[in-house]
């Protein structure tokens, strides 16, 4: 098992699998290559960087994380054209706080537009609503498991 922390990303191959716990407004983005049975997972916190002077670990931003995740997979032998995407998260945990409540939607929109630019199809998703999620990406089948207190286990 490879655990991906907040604002981080990782790639791995069988027999390992990837997990990232407790997504709130963050997005868990899994990219999978069914031929090589390998993939990557990113825990994306924010849409895009506003302060470019900020150099330390920009991987929490979708605009950086998505291309880097693709790059990391290309490096281990999974070309972009073979990748498929599955995503979960982007919740509005505190509904009455308008700023915090919209971050999830903005994250999801930025991840979608980054994937569109890279021509990677999103084949499954569980995005929005107001509950926390833990996601796992299994590399034998590409199964994306989403766990939450509200809905239990969903298999995408």
């Amino acid at each position: 098992m490879v655990e991906v922390g907040v604002g981080a990303l990782a790639v791995t191959t069988l027999p390992r699998y990837l997990i990232t716990p407790a997504l709130g407004s963050c997005i868990g983005l899994g990219l999978y290559d069914p031929v090589m049975q390998q993939g990557g997972l990113a825990h994306i916190m924010l849409p895009s960087q506003t302060d470019t002077a900020l150099k330390a670990s920009p991987e929490r931003f979708a605009s950086v994380a998505v291309p880097r995740l693709v790059e990391a997979l290309t490096r281990i032998g999974s070309p972009r054209r073979r990748l498929v995407a599955k995503m979960a998260g982007g919740a509005a945990m505190f509904r009455s706080d308008t700023t915090l409540a919209t971050i999830g939607d903005r994250n999801a929109a930025e991840v979608r537009s980054q994937l569109r630019l890279l021509k990677i199809p999103i084949i499954a998703e569980d995005v929005g609503n107001s509950h926390a999620r833990t996601v796992e990406l299994h590399l034998d089948t590409g199964m994306f498991i989403v766990r939450s207190y509200l809905y239990g286990v969903k298999r995408l």
Binding site: G5, V6, G7, A8, P21, A22, L23, G24, S25, C26, M45, L46, T50, D51, L54, A56, S57, R60, A91, M93, F94, R95, S96, D97, T99, L100, I103, S130, H131, A132, R133, T134, Y149, L150
Partner: protein, 203 residues
């Protein structure tokens, strides 16, 4: 202001600010429950954003939380957090019932906890505002019952726009006879720290 550049003196001052806020919040809680409530010395931590979701019993622990946004001269948030069991005990103590009486957490309990958290957060912030001569108001409270990690992550998201780490000033409240584990996090925006320290004369 860069969090990493805070001096020892400034950190001490912030710890003191935290103690004053926590003391007032503990007094408010004691009055609400009509019994003494203990408060531990506040811990002040500057942590990478990636580590924050694990600070309250692990990322997937089921907790209730109330978030108050701070508006005015200083910005940021106050986050009240407690495991589900502690919330149920808290509800019992507020009703002067034996802890363990309330078994389920519904709308009524949610409203009560939200109200109490709002009072605690407001008394904490009022004490700081009075000491530093600042105008700060808490927003209307927002309640959620879910994974601790996801809640902490959302509460520190805005800090992520400006820096890779965030400051947590954490207070733990406890009650002698019952196991009540309640935490209150003061999450000042990093630009607001400068305002706060400036008012205290040590910017």
């Amino acid at each position: 202001m860069r969090l990493e550049r805070l001096t020892e003196l400034q950190m001490d001052a912030l710890r003191e600010v935290g103690s004053i806020g926590a003391g007032h919040a503990a007094t408010a809680l004691s009055q609400l429950m009509d019994m003494p409530v203990g408060v531990r010395n506040p811990e002040i931590e500057i942590m990478p954003l990636g580590e924050i979701p694990g600070v309250f019993g692990g990322p997937e622990q089921l907790v209730g939380a109330v978030y108050l946004r701070l508006l005015g001269d200083i910005e940021g948030g106050m986050l009240f957090m407690a495991p589900r069991d502690s919330l149920l005990s808290l509800v019992d103590l507020l009703h002067s019932r034996r802890p363990g009486t309330t078994k389920s957490f519904g709308r009524e309990q949610e409203a009560l906890v939200t109200h109490v958290a709002s009072i605690l957060g407001a008394s904490y912030i009022a004490a700081i505002a009075r000491m530093a001569d600042l105008n700060v108001l808490p927003s209307t409270p927002s309640f959620v019952l879910d994974m601790a990690g996801a809640i902490l992550e959302v509460a520190t998201t805005e800090a992520g726009m400006k820096a890779h780490s965030a400051m947590l000033i954490r207070t733990a409240f406890f009650h002698e006879e019952t196991k009540i584990d309640v935490a209150l996090f003061f999450l000042p925006d990093q630009d607001s720290l400068e305002v706060l320290l400036g008012r205290l004369g040590i910017a």
